[in-house]
Every structure is written in C-alpha cells, then in structure tokens.
Subunit: 300 residues, 2 copies
C-alpha cells in the first residue's frame, strides 16, 4: 500500500462559505499560492454557485484562473448543478466536485430538488465532460453518515448513489460527514462497504469535527485504505452551533496526524503553520481552531 | 471481550490543579455527587500534595471523606510520595494512584527526585498497603509517550517501571500522555507491548488533547483492549500553551465516543451534559472545552 496521501484544502470553499468576512480575490490567491508552496497538490479554491446566494464566491472564475497559473497545483471547484459546472469548465477547471446529498431532506434544503434529480444532473455533466478532454469529476455524497434534518441516512442509498456515479464516469467518490455525525466504527464499515462498490475509483473522506471525532475518523478511514482527505485551515467553517465548536477538521492537525501515522503528505508543516499564523489577519473576526499552531509539534 | 468501560473523571484533580479559581469544598462535593449520580463509578476527587504547593487541594481529606459517603462511588486520590499516600489512607481512601514519571527530567522537575527514588517509594507504599486490607494501588507512569523537557522517553524504561510496579503489587498501571505527544500508532504499540508485561493487571489510559489527537488515541487504546480511561469534564485543565488549546480530553466527548464504539460506560449522557452545563458557573473565568455540550448528540 502506498503511503502517499493527499490532504485537500477546502478552507477557501467550505470554510469561507460559512464566515461573514468577505475575502477579496487578491487575498484568496495569496492564500492559495502560500498553501501550494507549502506542498499542497490540490486545493478546492472556490464554488461555482449563484453570487446572489453566496456573494463570497462571486469571484469564482477569477480565483480559478489565478490558481490555474500555479504550476504544481490542481485547483478544484465545487458545483451543485450543471450551470455551475459549466461556469467552472469555462474558467478552465481541470477537476470539479459535484455535490449531492444522500439525505433527501438535505438535498431539497440545499438545492431544492430531489437526490435523483441531482444524480441525473451528475450523469449529464459526466457525459458533457467526456467530450471535453481531461477533466476529473469527483462525486461527493453529503450526509453519508447521517443528517440533522432527516436523521438516519440509509447506507444502501449511499451505495446506490456511489455506484451510479461510478457508472457515469466519476473519477473519485467523496464521502462527506456534512453534519459531524460520523464515528470511527461507522467510518470503517461504510468506507469498506463503499470501496467494494467503487472498485478502482478512489475514495476521499470529508470529515467535520463537530463532536470532536474528526481526527479519530481520519485514522479510521486511513486504516481502511483511504488516501484522500479534505480539511480546512484552522478548522475554518466555524460552527453552526456555538462559538468555539468546530466545523471542518483543521488542515494543520490533519496533516500532522497523517504524518504521525506514517503517511507522506508532501506538506512542509512549518510552512503550513506559518500560513496558519497569517489566517487571523485575513479573517480577524472569525473563530479559528486547530491545535497545532498553539501546541507546536511533539518531539520538536 | 467485555464491553464495560470505566471513564474516570479527573477534572477535580488534573483539571483543578491547573486553574486559578479555588473551588470550595462544598462545590467540589456537589460536583462529585452529580457526576456519581450520572453513572460514574470512579472519580479522582483530589490530590494529597502539600497545600503550600497546591492550595487548591488543601481540603483533600474533607473531599475524600465526603466522597466516600457516596454508596456507588470509588473515589480515588493522586499522590506523589509516601507522605501524601499516608494522608490519603488516613482519610479512608480505598484507591490511590501513585504517579511517577518515566522521564527523569520530568520526575526531577515534578518531585525533585529520581524516577528510581520514586519507584522505591512506590514499593514501600505497596508493602504498607498490603498490611492495610483492601486498598487498590494504581501506578501511573507520566510522560510515557514523550516529554517536553527531556524529549524522547524510552519504551524500555516504561516497560521496566511497569514491570517493577506490578511486581510490587500494583492493581492497575496507568500510562499517561502528560504533555499530549501520543499518536494512535504509538498508542497501539506501547499498550500492546506493556500489556504483555502487566499480564492480568489492567491498564488504564490518560490522554491529553494538546494536539487534537486525544480521542483518536482513545480509539487506538480501546482497540488494544484498554477498558479504563481518564478524562476531565469540559477538558478542564486548560492549556499550558495558549487560551483555547486543550489539556485533558473532555469527559463528555470521551464517554460519547466510547458509547459510539460499542462500549458500555454506564453513564447517563444527558445527566452528564447537565452537569457539564453547570461547570461555567463554578469556574467562570476558565476556558472550557469539549464539543458535545454545544453540538448535541448525533442522531438525537
């Protein structure tokens, strides 16, 4: 088994979509450049959603174009529908993550259509892309581990969606714990079961740390063979519950944990911590988390 | 393998020893009563150390006597030397945790004597106790996973100490990650190796969450068969580094995680969260952590 692991920064998307501070395009690109220079090969740089809904991403095309200029970086974009995907492709995106939710209630709330309707869009997008050359298409399944609106999410439904996405041509399946419900035993079970369905299509994991289980879930997923992890610098993404509670797992803690587990992330941890130390100057009114900046490395 | 797990509250000792607020005896006993009523069978209620060094524990004997009045609780006390142990026994303690450090530098800094001198004290205490009837004696090995003063701690030294403690009559060996250096792979390796030495003497785990790995380490230790975990309500114990960084793993998150893993802690999680919600009124100027109070249970 390879020990090379990709930690994909999603702070510029999952993080920024939940914070009040509008970050200007110039600063976003400074962040992307610094994180790329710290050894990150993949960064979710933006989301192609209607600017009327999320003004934070009104500059999606500019950010994508700026990020594509960096030679060692694969910038990715999140999309929720065909229109967004087409804007991403127009901007030159070489990897797109299409998100739908396994929870019917969550998908309706998020994009006002059924999960099946989103899946039909995914199929159409996959067909479009197949005629466009080398664009990677990740299928992300939100609320894989449970949903705060609907409650239980059927694993069979997740499996069905993953299978359909692979059949349509997905180049990655990303299982997302959107609301922080996952626990390690569940992570092991679901990743094992779904990997039997996705076969050669790699799995990625997207964990939130809402209940403090995020890093334990990373270990669990890594132990089943997952080599792609989303994380957000400083745990940016804040908290839907209370100040101080955390959203995404923090990139710096995740990278350090994976290195401790023997994985090779390719990240220069000191350069990453230097970037993390800058984050409060860009987002002065946001609660930031993550432990490593304050605690420092063990065995320094 | 049994699924019954003991989570031992150490907030009244490891937590309070690091905070500035002096908690009065009455409030400590209210806390102990509420936590016992929530299903905790074991609480480290105090530390028998010189009041001149830690005035927080000047009421150690009163707290122990008060806690011993609760019928379903085994109150434990931490001691660092024979004098403290004798005070604990005098107060009626039925379980004592004697701590020494595997790191020579840390032991010198903590108690101004060599680790071997502390070990000799442990042997003497074990001999004393063997003539006193039914007193349990846990041997806790601080800095088992590394030391911020000395750096690396030899696993062979930890093994040697654990073996000597068992030979002397320890009824439990507690491996403590005093400075939050442990990571899951190391936890698995060390607990497996040490359990081969301690044989029937049960192992306990004491993790800090300094780098956010605390709960991942709980999973790792549980997977090797550990059934005794220390934790501190609200992660009390604060942080030696910066506000917001955490010390001990939070009891409420630990209990919930272990229940998710299939363990039976015997704890009423809602009663525990009600107690956790009270903590800020007792310690208004302390930083408290833990995620579960704010996030709530998954799948509620």
């Amino acid at each position: 088994m390879s020990d090379a692991v990709t930690v994909r920064e999603v702070g510029l998307r999952d993080g920024l979509q939940l914070v009040k501070t509008r970050l200007d395009t110039h600063t976003k690109l400074d962040w992307i450049r610094a994180q790329s220079a710290a050894g990150f090969s993949e960064i979710e740089v933006t989301s192609f959603v209607p600017p009327s809904i999320l003004p934070q991403f009104a500059d999606a095309a500019e950010v994508m174009v700026g990020a594509l200029a960096l030679s060692d970086l694969l910038p990715t974009a999140l999309v929720l529908n065909l229109k967004g995907a087409r804007r991403a492709i127009e901007a030159g995106a070489r990897k797109i993550t299409f998100v739908l939710s396994a929870s019917e209630a969550h998908n309706q709330s998020n994009v006002r259509r059924s999960t099946d309707a989103s899946l039909a869009m995914f199929r159409e997008l996959a067909k479009d892309i197949s005629t466009q050359g080398q664009i990677e298409l990740a299928g992300a399944i939100a609320t894989t581990f449970g949903c705060s609106l609907q409650g239980h999410v059927s694993e069979a439904r997740v499996a069905e969606i993953a299978e359909a996405m692979c059949a349509a041509g997905a180049t990655e399946i990303n299982l997302a714990d959107t609301v922080g419900y996952a626990h390690p035993r569940q992570v092991v079970r679901i990743f094992k079961d779904i990997s039997a369905i996705t076969g050669p299509v790699p799995l990625a994991a997207h964990f939130h740390d809402t209940r403090g289980f995020g890093l334990a879930n990373v270990v669990a997923a890594f132990d089943t063979g997952v080599l792609r992890f989303d994380a957000s610098l400083g745990g940016l993404g804040g908290c839907p519950f209370a100040p101080g509670a955390s959203g995404n797992i923090a990139t710096e803690d995740t990278v350090y944990l994976l290195e401790c587990l023997g994985a090779k992330t390719g990240v220069d941890i000191n350069a990453l911590l230097a970037l993390r130390a800058k984050l409060p100057s860009w987002l002065p009114s946001e609660n930031l988390g993550g432990n490593l900046l304050h605690a420092g490395l063990a065995h320094p």
